[in-house]
Chain length 150, copies 2
DNA sequence: TATTAATTATTAATATGTTAATAAAATTGC
DNA sequence: GCAATTTTATTAACATATTAATAATTAATA
C-alpha cells in the first residue's frame, strides 16, 4: 500500500520545504513575505493588472489577495485604482517605491534560482518541468467525482 | 531574466494547485482538512509517535501541530499521552475511531494517487521523484548566506 | 426596459503557516 | 549536586489559505 511520504503532495511539499527557506531569508531582509514578493514581482514590468489577473499569475487565492494588497498599499509599494470602464474591477499597479524595491531584490532572487538550477543537470530540469506542467494541466480538467467513478 | 512563473517554487505550487483539489474534495466528505488527514494517515499503523516525530513525518510545523491535534482530539480521533520516561514529551496515538475513519478514507486516497500516477509514464515519475528528493536534500544543507556569498 | 443572471471584489469564519518567545523538564559541565 | 544549557511542547502575534456568502456592478434576455 501507498506510504504517506511517497505520495505526490508530500514529495512536492518536501521539495518546497527544502527550497523556500533560502528565499524567505532573502525576503525577510526587506520585510516581505513570500506572497508579498510574488505580487511585487508580477507588477515589476507591467503597467497594472486587475485583481483577478494578479491572483492567477501569483497563484494567490483572491480572498488572500485583499489583505496582502492592504499591507503592501499601506507601505506605499502598490496602488489600487478603480477601473472606469468596469466599476467592479480594481487595477493594481506598482509604485515607484515598489519598483525600486523590486529592482534591489530581483538579482538576489535570481542568484538563489541559479544556485538551485546548478544542483541538477539541465535535462533533469526539463523533464521535471515538463512532468509537473502536464500533470497540472491534466488535473485542472479533472474532478474528484470523475476519479471516484472509475 | 527569470520570469515569475518559471521559478521552481511557482512550478511546484502550480502542480500542488492542480493535484490538491481532488484530495480536498475527498477529505471534505469526512470533515477533514488535508493536515488532519496527514496525521491520521501517519498514525494508521504505528502504535504512537512523539510530537516531534509526527511533525517531521507529516511535514507540519510543530506550532501548527498543537491546534490540529486539539481539534482531532476533541473529535475523539487521536489521543495525547504524557510520556513517563520523559515528562516533556507527548506521545500521540490514533483511537479506534480514528483508525476506522482512516480505513474508510485510505482506499479512496489510494485511488486518487493511482489516477495521478496514470497521467505520466513510470520513468517520468522515477525521474521526478529522484530530482525533487535530491534537490530537497541538497538544499536542506544550504543556507541563504552561502548562496549570497558566491 | 425591467428582471434575472453572471461577474468582480470583498467580507466572514475557521484552520493553518511562520517566527519568536516561553515554561517545564532533562542534560551537561563543573 | 548545582548552575547553565539544551530539549520538548506550547503559546503569542501576525500573515495567509480555504470555503461560503455578500455587495456592487454589469450583462443577458424576455
Amino acid at each position: 500500500m501507498l506510504s504517506l511520504n511517497a505520495s505526490l503532495p508530500m514529495i512536492l511539499n518536501r521539495a518546497l520545504d527544502g527550497v523556500m527557506p533560502a528565499y524567505r531569508q532573502l525576503f525577510a531582509q526587506y520585510d516581505l513575505t513570500e506572497q508579498q514578493w510574488r505580487i511585487l514581482r508580477a507588477l515589476w514590468e507591467v503597467e497594472d493588472l486587475r485583481a483577478a489577473e494578479l491572483a492567477e499569475q501569483t497563484l494567490l487565492p483572491k480572498p488572500s489577495l485583499v489583505g496582502i494588497l492592504d499591507r503592501l498599499e499601506a507601505r506605499g509599494l502598490v496602488e489600487r485604482r478603480r477601473s472606469n470602464k468596469d466599476r467592479r474591477a480594481v487595477s493594481i499597479a506598482s509604485t515607484a517605491k515598489g519598483r525600486t524595491l523590486a529592482k534591489e531584490v530581483l538579482p538576489q532572487a535570481q542568484a538563489i534560482h541559479d544556485f538551485i538550477r546548478a544542483v541538477l543537470p539541465e535535462e533533469d530540469w526539463d523533464a521535471l518541468e515538463h512532468a509537473l506542467n502536464t500533470l497540472a494541466d491534466r488535473m485542472k480538467a479533472t474532478t474528484f467525482a470523475e476519479i471516484a467513478a472509475e
